[in-house]
Subunit: 352 residues, 4 copies
């Protein structure tokens, strides 16, 4: 209930503050007998890792995952998989200046109001560092979902956007540049742009898009737990997300039914795919695709005025090692959350 | 698990097919001692009712709710509230033509594939008729949330959109026209447009926006169950929804941090509200606002080709009584789902 | 959370007070494609029905179940099954005398304290009438569990107890007498005894035992959701239950390990079955057997002193139509709850 | 769903095998602002620790708990509390002899059948070592439940039983002997008896009783989640438990209603307490008391015949360091599970 668990049958519970001794989690419901590729899990973590490139935060964290249970002789056993990621690079002194002040558009104020206190070091539980645990679990979920391909990529940075649908992009190129944009030309522009924004101590938002191929027909539950509703919740639960759309999305609201309906081929596939691979909340076997909007990071390397706990005006100076734009590092997080949703529905669907 | 329940502490479970004997539901977790205004519940149902105006489906259903439990001497008792809405106007013969065929962009195909069979009459469980139960529960949730004001309205129909933020609209005018758009001039244009679309046997999408005022600080849980994540799931679970954004939304992804950060006033309110009343997944006391994109209704009053169960091409003729545009009737549904989310978080927040 | 739902994948939510318009419930998660024998469901309800014999309450309630959804052309559809049982024989005037008083060992006091008010007519939600909905759902669960045989019977009334293990009883004789005790001689004695107790306006407790045969190996989850733990919860949730034991039970605590261990046969069955068909919380394919202790009904047809809401002493006179001993009517309720537990674990086990 | 979580609002998820690198867990929903006495948590663990006395297993495990999150400057923060207990004394070689064989009345066979494989070292996940995590969480739950006193004790070992109700015992004496029986004379006899049983390589069962004082009125939910039903489930989920009874228990089934009803005092307390502090599933403020039956430990230090995976007969020799009787070490586990149930209902009850 307190918000730190995700999924019903494939269930992840996470814990950890950005500057405590460790983050960790428990995956309950992972099917037994899977040959777990632990290196593949670490690789996904590395895609999310701070310090991985010139356009992300330069904080150094190795983010090494250690497994405590649920794996025996290389296979999952069906029992819960406990894991830990130690925090090795906490510099808690960095954060003493925010102990009594509320940074704008962070969770400082709301956490203090809700809980009556907060671990103020680096955002504590509200830090996006928490998403490392999601990536671990998502990497395992991917291994449950053999044959299903989940590919996310950066489709816009600020106003700089890919102008093509995913079907015209070469998704094998996503990891070939540090922006994780499959169009190399646009990626280069985005990279320059992010560097420019950072040089001003500013930040900028962006959009991550995701395509999921080879989803079997039948995943998703009717009414409240529609497949796209859970995907939407999953994405909106990622730090800094402001919007989610799938298939025709917001643009679909401007269309006529006569344009938007996806006519059937005789094999049950459809000629168009405005539905985004989901009809009535249930996968229809076509590609699932969606986009996720991220706001600009709230931490600026600038001076700004704000208030302290007592409501006094105070001047603060943003410092530390922050991302000028989160979307390159958000790509594996989006994939991880998509994998968690699908693994859960895959298991639930076995009951029918 | 099977998708027909919503909410943790304030929990709604619904049942019912569009052409079975009745729809109904159970609200478990409604606090005791609330003077329940049953007429106000029926009024909300009437806002969703078919046949209410010239621009919605002309099907006649009184949609009268009957309560079976949980209310005694005018007050809620804390025990589950069971309710039933009888289906009085089923014309099952209308639907025999779709028994063996799959209508494009409906759930016919996916339900058949998932369950191996389906109640083909009028969409069965996948019919938007199911949302009547949400409106009943939402109307009760509103009464739990004394002082909180939830107002939804139509902000676009097709490409015809309100060009003002909600703060410049007179939200008291929403119910003064049948489109439920607070700007009377735009509403009149939308009305004509919907009629024109219907006259062609076509349909069109639209957007419903929603503003929630007077939310106490502290609602929403960290990490996975962020307030906006649950709102997003709630909205995406409504039939025909393709997208959700809150606060600065997709537009926010094009902004700089220096523009987007909401500076504090000394009382903890903020000068701007790009955050949409939620920071770190927790309400901060500012207005919550969001938008929900609806695709065009899939049922057209036109001839079209599709396939039957055996994969043969068949020609069908759309008929019956359908909405040319769902957004006017979706307004109370959006409000209901918002109320369910808030009532749930309101109760959860009492544990702290 | 509020306690009116049971089961995870095969989920029942019930509502209804003993003297409101109706009881009802929703079964969510029933697999599709089951040829539902509605008459068999009604038969189970008839086994629980008031007025069925000379030793149970003489209240007349037909207890007819009506289904609202989830069944189409005789088959379950996989969508939620809504059902209603109308209360036809409420005599609310009967209960005005308890409006302001607390009957001893009833839930009057605790409900009033917890909720601040209560539907005082006939116990309201705390009435055992609620179990009718469990029997409906259990009867459907039994049809999901093809091949599994669940047989409950009365093993003691007061101090009058069967002195044989279930393996020496002829369980086909359970329904051959109104006590539902498989030993006809003992049953006759129990019947006389119950009549004698009733003639004094008194009541007496008893024990229901239950045997489940043909359970596949593997049902139940490790650690917290052990099969016997859920069975125990299920039984203890039935009105008037004070204890639960399975396999060797309380007697097992007096035994040595060298006596108690169940040695294996080469086919994985065991020579003895002190384990009661469950090892490590998971079914091992042997018979599951357990016993459930019921206290004597609290309503006596006698004068007694108690207190009113203000703490004043008042004299009351028990009246109405009550069971002198609940165990004969509890037999189908025990079976129903067992079926719900097994159906749930049967579906959960499909995820592996 | 997979059985490794307990509780709704105060929720514990555990992981860990007896011979993996570590056990651990996450407590989600612990209220913020509690001054956490970490030493008190360790003390509870020490009460459960192997090697603590002459009558328990002589395995040496320090069982030191380390906290990873959710505590800041000595207080709980409302965010999840992650913790780890390292396994320091695994001797995996000890267990190679059971790799391919099924020990009688253990979970070897059922785990293998359910999951298709198992971590065979020391019982893996089915080992009672898992209960260490419950004790950690229970010790924190106790600190949430200020003022509520939970005291468990050994009430029988084999056929050697305390012959007095708890009201005639001096519960302050429980920890004064290694059996944890509050009657010193009986305790001494039990101690000798356990030593005698051990000297034969045998084991014996026993009963743990528990008394909870100062419970506020109103805890527990109606119908399925009655307070005693959750207590029963909690206790039955502990390894080796075969039965649970509360209040008058099984004996209550032999009583008349005229004896069993608990007459009210004018302050709402009752003259007798056969109800065991719970009426209609809700605490009434009187003492809650219950008993839990434990079977004899299945591991004997004797030769025995069993089968291997292929169904061949094999001879085995029990060895290792095992408890001759689990009840002395089960006392803190029973208390921990009781605390978890109460903390959960305490938080749930805040919603009313």
């Amino acid at each position: 209930m307190a918000g730190n668990s995700f999924g019903k049958l494939f269930n992840l519970t996470t814990y950890g503050e950005s500057h405590g001794p460790a983050l960790g989690g428990v995956i309950d419901g992972c099917p037994p007998g899977i040959d777990l590729d632990v290196e593949a899990v670490q690789n996904e973590l590395d895609r999310r890792r701070p310090g991985q490139s010139a356009i992300v935060t330069q904080r150094k964290e190795p983010d090494t995952v250690k497994f405590h249970s649920g794996i025996f002789e290389g296979k999952t056993t069906g029992t819960p998989i406990g894991f830990v990621i130690e925090n090795t690079n906490q510099k808690s002194n960095d954060y003493s200046h925010i102990k009594d002040s509320y940074r704008p558009s962070h969770a400082d104020y709301t956490y203090d109001q809700k809980y009556g206190l907060r671990d103020y070091r680096g955002g504590g539980r509200s830090s996006a560092r928490e998403t490392a645990c999601r990536v671990v679990a998502g990497a395992i979920a991917k291994q449950v979902l053999k044959g299903i391909e989940i590919k996310a990529y950066v489709s816009s940075v600020g106003t700089m956007a890919l102008d093509k649908p995913y079907t015209e992009l070469d998704l094998t190129q996503i990891e070939s540049n540090i922006v994780r944009c499959p169009d190399q030309g646009v990626a280069a522009q985005m990279e320059s742009y992010i560097k420019e924004v950072r040089s001003k101590g500013d930040t900028v938002g962006g959009v991550v898009s995701c395509v999921i191929k080879n989803v079997p027909v039948g995943l998703g539950e009717p009414v409240f737990d529609k497949l796209h509703a859970e995907l939407g919740k999953a994405m909106l639960s990622i730090n800094a997300v402001k919007g989610f759309e799938y298939g025709s999305g917001f643009h679909g609201s401007t269309m006529y039914g006569s344009e938007h309906n996806d006519a059937f081929n005789t094999d049950g596939t459809t000629k168009t795919n405005y539905s985004g691979g989901i009809q009535g909340g249930i996968s229809n076997g076509m590609d699932i695709y969606f986009s996720v909007a991220f706001k600009p990071v709230a931490t600026l390397i600038q001076k700004y005025e704000t208030i302290d706990k007592s409501g006094n005006r105070v001047e603060m100076q943003g410092k530390g090692r922050h991302d000028p734009c989160v979307v390159p590092r958000a790509v594996p997080i989006v994939e991880a959350m998509a994998a968690l949703v699908l693994a859960d529905f895959y298991l639930i669907n076995k009951m029918y």
